[in-house]
Amino acid sequence: MRGSSRYSAFVRWFKIVLPLAALGLMSTIFLIDDDQIDLDLPPLSELSEGGRVTQSVLNADMSGRTDEGEPYRLVAESVQQLTDGMLLTMPRARLDTAEQGRITVVSQEGNYDGATNSLYLTEVVKVDVEEGSVQLRSDDLRIGLDTGALSILTPVDVEFAGGTLRADTARREGNLPLDDTIWFEGNVRLFVEGTPPHSEN
């Protein structure tokens, strides 16, 4: 186990795949509060106070910079304003981070709940992190946008350079930064390729 570069991938993925913690970063993109989306756009400006909303913004395209100055972009086929939240169809979010490179999050549907300030992505959720070629696949993903709480209730597949991780579910309690632990639960299986003989250092 000593010094083998491929073996250190065993944990390097922890350092890199930890960008799952970056999922929390992604939450900055989804901070779709009033001042992020221009509510004065024609279709939305005529919303009746508290009424059932049917109008939506088509081909929403929003970009900006996070508090850390990292550029992000969020596009969705449609963003439908709900009484206390938003329904996004085919949301695609992209964040260019200094440490992990480009992170992209894609799903068929996204439901932003203003009451709990959480985002629920469903149906083929894909998270790709450039650094370490990390790819996470699941069928649901819920993020607490201000608490950092995270839960995946469907099987999780994570692939990274030189290995894979599988588990039935994943979660993180919402008390960042005290506890940033992401728990993968149920039939956890980590696989890391061996180190080719010549590349031992």
Partner: protein, 140 residues
């Protein structure tokens, strides 16, 4: 002819590593990954099983620096089994310390002591503390 004790405990990084467990907790802040519940780590001919295994890594390089296993820890090779309640593997040095009713079994023979130290690079080892040996004479 029995193999030299510990000689089959040699680590082969060219082999893939697989770890199975009930849960895995990954913390970037603590630089740790904690495998819990029926933990089994297999690499080549070495298998480590335990109740819990905590991997600590170097923040800068991401390399494994230490691996601590607790609770019914067994390190098995094809011919030998080292067991104890606690195992501490310092990766850079390549040394694995086992304690808590440490015992090494090879076929029908067994050696036990307070603590055992195994060098996974050379396949050598030493017992620390009072050593008890059980040799089962082979039939004449």
């Amino acid at each position: 002819q029995q193999a030299q004790p510990f000689s089959t405990f040699q680590h082969d990084p060219t082999q893939p590593l697989e770890v199975f467990s009930d849960t895995l907790g990954v913390s970037q802040a603590a630089n740790t990954a904690v495998f819990r519940g029926s933990v089994e780590a297999v690499q080549g001919e070495l298998t480590l099983t335990a109740d819990e295994m905590t991997v600590t890594y170097d923040e800068a390089t991401g390399d494994v620096v230490r691996l601590v296993a607790t609770g019914d820890v067994f390190l098995k090779s094809l011919l030998e089994t080292a067991e104890g309640q606690f195992a501490d593997y310092m990766v850079a040095e390549g040394t694995l310390n086992m304690s808590g009713d440490a015992m090494l079994t090879q076929g029908n023979n067994a050696l036990s002591s307070d603590e055992m130290r195994i060098d996974l690079n050379t396949g050598s080892g030493e017992f620390i503390g009072r050593v008890r040996t059980i040799f089962v004479p082979t039939s004449q």
